[in-house]
Structures are given as C-alpha cells and as structure tokens.
Symmetry: C2
Subunit: 541 residues, 2 copies
C-alpha cells in the first residue's frame, strides 16, 4: 500500500484532519449530565446526515434487566431488612433526601451496561461526611447493608445493589473545597463529577490527572474507589500516585480524615492507599485531595494506520524515543473496531483502511517544539513503513473527533449484539495474540472478536459479540481467557476492577496468601460486612 501522504509535513497533516468534517462525532458522554443508555439516547448527538445500517439507535425502551439474584447464583447474607423505623431514622439524618419512589430508584438499581439489577427500596442522598457518618453508624448498629454509589458508570456491576442494600449516593456531595494555584492541589467532595472538576481546574491553568469516556457522569469518589485508569494513565500514572489525601467514613461511622495531605508525607502507614481501588468495600470515600498537572499549552493527536501488530509495537518504541516527555496517550484499535464504529455509528475512518490503527496524543508546553518532534516522528514511521497512512489534528474539535473513533468503540460494540467484555493487562508484545487466537477458537460462533485499548499501558480491551447471549460462546471464552492471561502473568482486570461480576476470577491474578490478607483487611475494617457486600472478594464457601 503506497503511503497516502508522500511528503509528510506538519501543515499538510493538519489539513487532512479538517476533512473529517461532520462524519466524526464528539466524545461519547462529554458534556452530557448522564450516560446515555443503549437503546435510548445512544447516538442522539450524531450530527452526520449519513444513514447507518444499524437501526438500534432509534429502538424503543430497552427490555427490563433481569434481577441479579435471579440471574446469578448468589445468596443474600443475613443483613437486616429496612423497616419503617429505619426510614424515619434516615429522614431525621437527611431530611427530604430519603428516596423510596420506585421510578427514581430504578436508575440506581441497574448498572449502565444493563447487566445487573438490584432491588433496593431506599436511596439516601447525604450532603456532608457527617451525614454519611450518621448513616453508617446507624446501619452498622442495625446490621443493614449499604451500597455506596457515585455516577454508576462502572463496568463490573460494582456500583449497584445485588439484593436490597441501601443505596448511599454521593450525588449531592458535589462541592469543591479548595484549589491551590501554586501546587495544583484540588480538594473536593466525593460526588463532584469528573468533567465539572476538569472545567474547574482548567479555568485555573491545570487539568485533572485522569480522563475517562464516562467523565460527564462519573464521580471523583467513584474514580478513586475503583482506581480508575483511563486515557491519561500513560502520562500521569495511577491514582495511587496522584491522590494526595482522602476522607473516608468507615463501616462503623468513624470519620478517617487523611485529607489535608501535603505532596509528601511519611508519617506512618499511608492509609488512604487501602481505599483506592477497594470499590467501597472497606469504607466510603467522602472527600478527595488530588494533584492536578499544569494544563498543556499544545495538544496534538495523530491517527495512523499500521500494516500489522508488530508495526504497532515498533511505532510505540519509536514514538517513546522521539516524542519522549510530550507523549500523553498511545491507543490502538484493530480493523474490526473501525468497521464497528463505521457500521453502527456512522463514523468514517480519517485514514486509508488498515489492519490496525493507532491514536497518539502529545501534550506539551510549547506548540512549535511539539510539532517538530511529532513531525520528525511521523516522517520516520512513514519512511520506514511502520505506518502507511495518517492524519494529525491540533484544533480542539478535531482532536475530540479523532478521539471519538477510539472512545466510542464500546458503544458500537453494544449495538452489535451481546458483548462479552474482558479488560486485561498483558505483556505488550503478546497483547494481540489472544485476539487472533480467539478468532480461531470461536470461529463462526462469534460475530466479532475485537481488540483495542491502552497499548502504552499494556492494557487490552478484548470484546466478543454474538447475536444473543450464548452459553456455548461463554464456555469457549471462560475460563480460557483467564487462564491464557494468568499464563502470561497478566491481570484479569486491568482497570475495570472486580465489582460483582468479576470477583470470582481474582485467583487468576492473585495468590491465595494475597486473597487471605484481603479477607483479613475486610474483616478488620468492616467486621459485619455491611459495606458493598457481594463485591470485590469472592463468596466464601
């Protein structure tokens, strides 16, 4: 295949992006207050005049999700049942914010992927950590189970009740407490929406250290509780490094205030780390202190076509060398992903058809320098044949348009049929082997077997679709995928967590000694097990 751009040049590449026009949408969810549900609002923001072959975006209300307790083999633990007296007690703690209307509760009982559904009869909306402390103290005494809930955007059913757990929402705990202009330290309540925080700090010359497709809905408390990864992980690292302090309410109502944390603090054990990624099972995060990096002055996105996976890897090595400190994302997707976003969402590829596509983002402090680095990199990868076609965008809207191709894959998949989702960490050089392997293994049973994800972090999103749920497809996938991953000493949940749906597979990535210690920690911090039960740790025999 002859290179599309025979004489790659910065301006020329930039122009190419401009031709994308209306066929590329904005990032999913960006700017919307809630995540659209499949079958309802999906695709409502499409501005393209093209007609897609998939008609699901205009379909009627989705069918009801089966109750978790009916679909999965799980037994209710002996917690108390919420009584009228309990509701009255809650009403005294959070007056007017005890929700029992089944219509309102529905959205909080079902996860956004519509795979699990609880039957909670009460949702509480505290505004302060003191209110959370009151609620938990009460629930602890009464042995009532509690399901902490942020934006309910999780991927593993961790954010909704399994049975009748009380839903404790952080939605009204949405105040920014402080922002420090010199250090970039943001302190805020747990219910602040990530996108609103982004706006807040961007007005002050900073950015949030994490970014997710779900940013229009997800809460920072939920991000921390699930140790969310996302699109800036490659550059700014894990929340274990960027979260400076937390305020957490423990199961018995004790307020653990480790919020006023400076950048460096070695006074005793770093307790906040326990709660990062513990999915609300060890305590309820009520406030977060987080370090925000300075806002880059220049952002470029290159969208490239590669002839094979080895070239995707070599392009990554080359780009680490030539882009160095300005590299902020290295994402990849295969040709089937591109087919899906075109077919279901009318998003056209901005480059020639290729077996693989790579999205590279740079963020830097000096546009001219960044452009020079990027151009040198592009010249090299084009000249060497690692890349066969490409386009670059610097304009904010064009950048978002290119990102949409990568970010909306998940949406396109959900329109393709029943989706089997895996979020794996694997050695980068073997990242794609599992995808090709599964295509052979599943044969015509699967509609699509696709691979995409955060290649720069060794994180593969492996997705398989079939017309409808099929036990035989599932049997072909599991435990095969987990065993394959364990064989590579990878992680069976890179960034999505375990929640309810993946808690049974923890042992593929963690030894028995680790699981035992996790259980001991749970027993220490939540002896009655009232916090987000049936999540993270597997059921005990």
């Amino acid at each position: 295949m002859a290179p599309h751009l025979v004489q790659p040049g910065w301006r020329f590449w930039r122009q190419a992006a401009c031709t994308l026009g209306a066929s590329v949408q904005h990032r999913t969810w960006a700017g919307t207050p809630r995540i659209p549900r499949p079958g309802s609002l999906w695709g409502a923001t499409t501005t393209s005049p093209r007609i897609c072959r998939s008609g699901s975006s205009t379909s009627a209300r989705a069918p009801e999700v089966t109750l978790t307790r009916e679909r999965y083999p799980v037994r209710r633990l002996p917690f108390s049942v919420v009584s009228r007296e309990d509701l009255e007690a809650f009403e005294r703690v959070v007056p007017g914010r005890v929700i029992t209307d089944p219509e309102v509760l529905e959205a909080s009982n079902v996860d956004w992927l519509r795979t699990v559904r609880g039957s909670s009869a009460v949702l509480l909306r505290p505004r302060t950590s003191e209110e959370v402390a009151h609620i938990l103290r009460y629930c602890h005494e009464r042995n009532l189970a509690v399901n902490p809930q942020g934006g309910n955007t999780g991927m593993v059913g961790g954010s909704v009740p399994v049975f009748d757990e009380i839903i404790l929402s952080t939605a009204l705990m949405n105040q920014v407490i402080s922002f420090h202009d010199l250090s970039g330290t943001l302190v805020c309540q747990a219910g602040c929406v990530l996108e609103e925080l982004s706006r807040h700090v961007e007005e002050r010359g900073f950015i949030m250290p994490l970014d997710l497709g779900a940013k229009g809905s997800c809460h920072i408390g939920g991000n921390v509780a699930t140790n969310a990864g996302g699109l800036r992980f490659l550059r700014y690292g894990s929340l274990h490094g960027t979260v400076l302090g937390l305020e957490v309410v423990l199961a018995d109502g004790t307020v653990l205030n480790c919020l006023s944390a400076p950048r460096k603090d070695n006074t005793g054990y770093d307790l906040k780390q326990l709660f990062i990624g513990s999915e609300g099972t060890l305590g309820v995060i009520t406030a977060v202190s987080i370090l925000c990096p300075p806002k880059p002055r220049a952002v470029n996105v290159a969208f490239l076509g590669c002839p094979g996976f080895p070239e995707v890897l070599q392009t990554f090595s080359t780009c680490k060398g030539l882009l160095g400190e300005i590299l902020s994302a290295y994402e990849f997707m295969d040709a089937e992903c591109m087919w899906l976003v075109r077919h279901h969402l009318c998003l056209a590829s901005p480059v020639q058809e290729s077996p693989f596509y790579v999205l590279i983002e740079t963020s830097g402090s000096r546009a001219g320098h960044d452009a020079e680095k990027l151009n040198d990199f592009l010249e090299q990868v084009l000249r060497s044949g690692l890349v066969t076609d490409g386009t670059v965008a610097t304009d904010h809207m064009k950048v978002k348009a290119l990102w949409a191709l990568r970010e909306r894959i998940s949406e396109a998949l959900s329109r393709d049929g029943y989706v089997y989702k895996y979020d794996l960490s694997l050695p980068t050089e073997r990242l794609y082997d599992l995808v090709t392997d599964l295509r052979v293994r599943l044969g015509p049973q699967a509609k699509h077997v696709v691979g995409y994800g955060h290649l720069g972090d060794g994180n593969l999103h492996l997705n398989v679709t079939s017309e409808a749920f099929s036990p035989s497809v599932l049997d072909a996938l599991e435990p095969y995928v987990y065993e394959w991953t364990a064989g590579q000493r990878g992680s069976v949940s890179a960034e999505h967590g375990l929640g309810f749906r993946k808690r049974g597979v923890i042992s593929y990535s963690k030894p028995p000694e680790a699981l035992r210690l996790m259980r001991q920690l749970k027993a220490l911090l939540d002896p009655k097990g009232i916090l987000n039960p049936y999540k993270t740790l597997p059921a005990q025999a």
Copy 2:
C-alpha cells in the same frame, strides 16, 4: 545588584559553569560502597587544593555512640533472647552467613548519623526470600524480635536495632531478576544498591524513578520500605505510583508474592501499598518490581541567585510555565547553607552572593528544544529581576558539581556542630517563614538556622546547629517546630519517615482515628510485634 550576565545566552551560561573547576566536588557518596562516617572518611574525596577552616575531616575515630537504651526512655518488650540453639538453627538456614563478630556487628548496630545504637549480637545474611521466610517463621515461633536492614542510610534511626533485635540484612539479596526493554519494568531483589540499579537500567536506555544522595549505599528494598522521596520526586512522583509489585515476607514467614504486577492491575486491594513506607514494621520486602522512565537525552542544570524568598517562589511559578514537562528538579538553599558548604567543604559558589539560591534541573528528549526553553526562562527571570545571577551546566561532570552544592549541605551541617534536623512538608508560600521565625526565637543560642530542600514538592529541610547538644535549644525547638507545622496542616516528616526517633510526633500530622487504624494493621500483620519493634508507631502507654 546588577545582573552578572548582562546578555544571557545559552553558550555563555554554559561556559560560566566550566569556571567552577576543582573547587566543586562530586556528589557525596556517589560511587562509594559505604557512606563515609563523620570524622572518618568525610571529605576524603576532595580534590581541591584549598585549605578549609574546618579541621574535622582529619580528626581521629569518632567517639562511641551512646546506646539507645541508655540515651532514650525506652523499655525492652518481652521478646525472647537469642540462645545458642537459635544460632545453630540460623546456621542451618543460612550456613556461613550468621554473623556474631562484634567488630562486624558494630556498623550494623549504629545508624549513619551516629545518633542511635543497638546491641544486637547477631546479623543474618539471607540470599533468597525462602531463607527470609525460614528465618521469620522461626523467629515468630520463638518470639524473637527482628530488625530488617538495607543500606542503613535512614535519617530517623529506623534501620538499626534499639535493643538486641536480630539484624536481618538484605545485603546478599542483590540480584537483578529481569528487565523489560519495552515497558521499562525492572524486577530485582531487595538488597540491590540503588546506584547499581541505576547503572543497570541506564545501560538499557532507562533511569531509576528515584535518586538520592545515599544512592551508593541504600538498598531498593529500604527505599521502598521508607517510601524514599529524593531528587526525582518532582518529575516522577512517589514510589506509591512507580512501584508495580512487591514480594514481602510477613511476620509469620508467609511469602506474599505480589511481584509479577503489570502496569495496571485492579484485581482486589492493592496490598503492596501497605508495605511502601511502613519501615519494615509490617513485613520484610524481599523483591521489588518498579517502573523505570526512559533516560533523558539531555540534562541541564541551572544554578541561580535570588534576591529574596518571594522571588524564589515566583521563579518557581515562571519555570513551571516555561519549562513545563522538562522540569525535573527545583531545589533551593539559603545563604547560610552556601556559607556552610564553603566553610566546611571548600565548595565555592558559582554565582554572586545572594540571599537565596535555586537549582533547576531539566531532563528532556531533545537538547535543542530544552536549551531553547531554558534560555527563554532564564532571560525572563533575569530581565524581571527574579534572578540576579546564574550559571548553567549541561556537561555530566559540571551537572554533578552543581548538584554537589545542594546535596552536600547535610554533610557541611554535620561538621558545624550538633545538628537538630527537621524534614517538613509545608505550604510552599510559607515554607521559609519558619526559618526566619526560628532565627529570632533562638537568637545566639544557635550557631546556624538554615533552610533548604525540595521546594518544588513543598519539602523544607530545616536544620539548626549548636556547638554541642543543648537541652535548652531542644526545648526552644520542640514541640514548637511540630506545632508550627501542624498549624499549617503540614507533615512533620515529609520524606525521612518516623523510624525510632520521630515516632513520638506522629500525632502532629495524623488524627487519633488514623493512629488507631495503624495499630490495628500492625496487630493484624504482626500480632507478636516482632518486626522492627519500637519503630514508626509511638509506644503505647
């Protein structure tokens, strides 16, 4: 004061650094197998022909350090005493590596600052985690206390025994297990010396994410156990973010293998975080997996004189804006620090006398771009009067020479008399107030009250010297310094930890609920309290 360089230019600045010549030494400790003790090897590597006024570098063997149990009010806990049978049992586990020679033991019983001294009669040198597991299982059964020891370079007496604890050295656990060229993941045993690891990964195009003055002696296991900060913290962040996995032997001999960790892993609680910064009190780290950043192609160091502390702060803001992603260190020192390094170590200032000095390091992938950014920054700060004089180095040896001015302050202080050392996190804008405040408070009681440190991280090293130890100086300093810090919601130990000497001050930075949870974690992981007793957590009433 007129700027020294009326027409600042890149090449000109570089030349200025070359004039430093022989009067600036290499980094302290770099390349030496052990840290020199004050009064013995100090200054032995000086190449300067100048005669220093201080004669301590040639003094005879230092006087013996008082035993900790005699100097501090601490009571031995009811552990067993090592018997002949115990020694025989150890000999079976680590044959030929059970050290009881008092001459050899002396170095391991005394901390390098010579402030604390234990009386251990046995030092064990395991080579594998299995041997560590055997030892701990035995000690746990026999109720024998154990003091894990790495390079013994800690600042708070955490690495030496208080009474007769068995010293468990990681010195022979010094093998690199693997290095992954694409991801930069290094896996190694805990006893690897930081400088040797640096060499290992630098040969492969990477650097360690941390760097310390003590790198020639300190062990990576000790770095992780103390959550070491150091010189690259500003750029690469905390070990909580860069450590990917750990192998830890628990108090009862259980091997907790969380070593084969990919970049992203959300399968359950992140157990390794518990051990980072726990100073060997919760488990013995036996192997480390750590993420190494790519080696920068260009490193520049600028050494600048500032007319006041407000200018130091404004220079920091300016430099964050103009240097952006290539900024890798922002250190400051006051005029008294410069006096001390000149007076005691014959290090001459490369710039005109100033109230404050700033050391700025950039690390980037493209020398030309970095030089341009740095030059623009320097022009701006000189023109605006934020900086009155400066010099820049790019050559490796000159870079080291400039760093020596900052890194050897601690050594110069130790030659000035008795040193009262504080390592505080404070809001950056108030960082220096405490120093000026203490100068007034102490008056002529103190020889010197100096402030220096990692300003970019809000970390002040506050040091006070007097001719000899003086209870009245100590009374004037404590608890005043801790109360002042707590009043600013700072940390009373930013990076040095608590160890033995600071464990009593934890409550200035942590609330009672946090301390209670720390004690519960200690009791859970080490129910008999055999691991590094008398450290980190305050004695219980």
